[in-house]
Amino acid sequence: MISFDLERRVRHLHERYLRIIDDDRLEEWPQLFMPDGVYEVTTRENHARSLPLALMSCHGRGMMQDRVTGYRRINVFEPHRYHHQLSGFESEQLADGSVRTVCGFLVVRTMHTGAISIFATGAYYDVVAQDSDGELRFKQRTVITDSRQTDTLLVIPL
């Protein structure tokens, strides 16, 4: 188990991530990762069968920024937003001082029409480390969804 103070900082990072997405401040999202950080979304079905296909995979902030560009400027979809819930945090310190964590997440999607539905549940498998500026950032965030299904489309990162 990691120190209480480190745990608190990591949990705050998780909460900040949540607020940035749920408050539709997606431009700040890549900044939560190391410059060469990795963000991937896949399903337990693919993961359990060791199949490498991902729904989204961003290697480095550039690819994350492009996802933000797609969301804001290019792709077409009905307006909607996410609401996240987090529970089930576990952590361990790695040899290099970074922290490996797992944390369950729930995402509820609300459409502009008012329709509410559970969009995804699953867990974040993260490696978090301290960046040169002293901030904690994600070296890796792997999102594994419990369901193999995606309703309609996935444009906002989970």
Partner: protein, 407 residues
């Protein structure tokens, strides 16, 4: 009201909503003389392998028996109708129904009925009960170069005749060496299955709805390419060759997508390797009624359309590469996966556009019709221009052939 001739060009919207039509389609199309994508040969690697899937709403199992032979079976116990196989895939020696333990061989033959002879000769099945009459109902299979197709109808044409020469050739082109599955997507769409079937055949929408294409000049209707129809239009293909810069007469400013100031922070996403001598970079092939086979740059996938009621459809994606991919090519495929599927830069819109039609055509729309006149009213192959809805009309030709004309 339109005359019966032009359902191909004037499609009534109520067909997308009516429950009776939906049930009629299950009978005339899905249980009819049609071939349906079930899985890939490579997904059944060894004796005992099985995969479960659907033909329309009918649950289906594909098995590989001890001799390595493939079998298609309806996934419904002959006793009282329970699903016999529940998992999406796996390995087993026998197919055993949970309810009363009726057990079937991998070829579907009924091998054991618990208490068939009763208890101490009392009860059990009647003397004239013959297990041979109660095997799992067969689904005829065709393994065409590693793609497993199935049909519920006895009179369905052989697969090559059904597909037509160009479709066969294009499948051979891609399935010329062993493939390996790299993963799956399962996408729920809130629209009638026919709206997705149209969408996949629709060359007209690709470069307009999917703004990403135009934004990055990846694929445009004005590129070289063509529309191919076989089997009187049942099966179609839309392909683009290489790349071109001329914009044709269609004012690019109308492409809401062309935004000079938009660029990719990491253009490596667009790197691709030319894999085929014909320089075709994008090819979408649709086999009537529900199979789609795609090449988009280095992404290769099968798509299966699974109807779940008049207003709901599932799309199952099977993403594959070649067994002999070098590491770099494999990485290209996986990175380009960002382009396709439910989160794909050039395909996510297909997940919602059908729903926009579904919702746009209720109420007064039940009395109106779509208009499919781009390129005229014929159903034929076209190489000189893809500003043509011939492939979509082809789908309705097939629909009419089986369901008849519904005004």
């Amino acid at each position: 009201m339109q005359s019966s001739e032009n359902i191909n060009t004037h499609v009534p919207y109520w067909l997308m909503h009516d429950p009776a039509v939906y049930r009629r389609e299950q009978e005339h199309i899905f249980s009819g003389p049609t071939w349906h994508y079930l899985c890939l040969d490579t997904e059944l690697p060894e004796p005992g392998s099985f995969v479960t899937t659907y033909i329309g709403e009918t649950p289906v199992i594909v098995t590989r028996d001890e001799q390595g032979e493939l079998h298609g079976l309806i996934n419904r116990c002959r006793h009282k109708g329970a699903l016999v196989a529940i998992e999406s895939c796996g390995r087993t020696k026998t197919l055993r129904c949970l309810y009363h333990g009726w057990s079937y061989h991998l070829n579907g033959a009924l091998r054991l009925v618990p208490f068939e002879k009763g208890i101490e000769g009392k009860g059990g099945m009647p003397p004239d009960f013959d297990k041979h009459d109660y095997g799992l109902m067969p689904v005829r299979l065709a393994n065409f170069h590693g793609i497993i197709f199935g049909t519920l109808h006895t009179a369905t044409q052989d697969i090559e005749t059904y597909l037509g020469p160009d479709m066969c050739a294009h499948i051979r082109r891609v399935f010329h060496k062993p493939v390996v599955v790299l993963g799956y997507y399962h996408q729920v769409m809130h629209c009638n299955w026919k709206l997705y079937a149209e969408n996949a055949r629709d060359s007209y929408h690709a470069t307009i709805l999917h703004a990403f294409y135009a934004t990055f000049k990846l694929n445009r209707l004005t590129m070289g390419g063509g529309l191919v129809v076989n089997h009187e239009g049942w099966n179609t293909m839309n392909y683009s060759i290489g790349s071109s810069l001329q914009e044709g007469e269609y004012d690019p400013k109308e492409l809401r997508a062309v935004m000079a100031d938009v660029g990719l922070a990491d253009p490596s996403l667009l790197n691709h390797r030319l894999e085929f001598a014909d320089r075709i970079t994008v090819a979408i092939q649709s086999i009537f009624p529900t199979c789609v086979h795609q090449q988009i740059y280095n992404t290769l996938a099968m798509r299966q359309v699974v109807p779940q009621g008049p207003g709901k459809t599932e799309l199952h994606w099977t993403f594959f590469g070649y067994a002999d991919d070098d590491a770099e090519l494999r990485q290209l495929r996986l990175r380009q996966a960002n382009l396709i599927g439910p989160a794909g830069y050039v395909s996510m819109e297909d997940g919602v556009i059908g729903e926009l039609v579904q919702r746009g055509t209720t109420g007064q729309g039940m009395e109106e019709r779509a208009v499919l006149l781009m390129g005229g009213s014929k159903v034929e192959s076209v190489t000189d221009s893809r500003a043509n809805e011939t492939t979509v009309r082809g789908f309705w030709q097939g629909y009419r052939d089986l369901v008849g004309v519904l005004q």
